[in-house]
Symmetry: C2
Amino acid sequence: MQALTRREKSLLRALLTRGGRKRAGLCRCEGLRAVREFLTERPELVEFTVGTERGLASLGEVAPISFRLTTEEEFSGFSATVNHQGILAVGRIPPFSETAPQGDFILALDGLADPGNFGTVARTFRAIGGHDVWYTDGSVDPWGDKAIRSGLGAQFSLRFRRFAALADLGKQAAEYGYRTLFVADPHEGEVCFDCGDLFRKTVLVIGGEANGASTPPPGSRKVVIPMPGDYESLNAAQAATVLLLEYVRRNRGGVKC
Amino acid sequence: MQALTRREKSLLRALLTRGGRKRAGLCRCEGLRAVREFLTERPELVEFTVGTERGLASLGEVAPISFRLTTEEEFSGFSATVNHQGILAVGRIPPFSETAPQGDFILALDGLADPGNFGTVARTFRAIGGHDVWYTDGSVDPWGDKAIRSGLGAQFSLRFRRFAALADLGKQAAEYGYRTLFVADPHEGEVCFDCGDLFRKTVLVIGGEANGASTPPPGSRKVVIPMPGDYESLNAAQAATVLLLEYVRRNRGGVKC
């Protein structure tokens, strides 16, 4: 088994920044579940895997690609977490999707700036069988280290597109037949549990943590999660989860309603 | 306006640890929305408020209690966040609840170890109008700095009880007439969207991030969130959100079903 080269070590540091990822066209994916997802779903993108003996053993039946063995101490030096699992993969960032979106709705993230929230939403969307995540400038990089860890690598099974603004996103979606934007609103709109059109070839827009979604294009509809308490709205990741699981509720058992 | 005393400064540091909070019987509550919640809901517990001029101004109509003015630089020195909002309050930790639980169900957190998740769940429960959060040893301290920040201070409107184990919790709940424990399970159980008994004087148990809930006492029932994808389950905070909003879905418009 090979050891890490000096170039690879400096690459691991560089990939923690957006600029570093852009220059290299690569991302780093840390943690057991995320690495498993990467190795299983997109092996053709993986450049190399780094791990300690413990990390390697934890992979079980999943074979690492171009494995570099390292010590626990050295791993701690480049790990982004305090209690690391001793396993990490580096690979190419997949290009933006150019295929037609699939499924009953596109998930759109408009200015979602927190990598933990981005990852959580990606993970939930992957868990309910979603495919297409479109996002606007001002959203966090899906391929950042923290976003990948929070998403448990769900990113590698999803298809992304990026747009300058929500209007451009809406226009592109309409060309594929996804004509209505439903924008999650903390205060008003059609009630998510009752709105029959919510998942009928639509775009579900989740806004950012601080300011919500940007001004939606004409023809958009607002959807609200009813809240009995006179209190703060749910955070962005929680709101997304509620809407995504509402989709599951309606479609469980193969019966669509 | 007074400045911070040396004793208060060292207290701010001490309250970042569980031991320090226990010794002092106090907690620290940082960030605008959390401080507002603390000052509004439990002013009788607040010992003092610390802020910069910017932080003080952001409080708006909410009056601070025993205000200590500090500089931005000094505040950065004891803030637990990188981009602080210049406002923080210190106050007594409320005692465990001794009144009978209220509402259709008790929320039980069994070994929920991540303060961010604990706070998020508290915030969502508060948002749907919940009252009683019971938890077992092994769960994170609700009064830790991160848990309060993630909860936006929802803790100050909730009532907590702590138990050595889930069995003790269940026994106590039964004495108040909350006879059935529904334990959220990632793999199997009654489907949350269909289970008619879910909120009929019950205890809703959310397990920890790593190992789920501990072995439930006899007579408990499992409840599952159906997941179409062959994938990881939702994280603990997302699972709690789905179950709590299912309660809202059934009870919106005042119609209970």
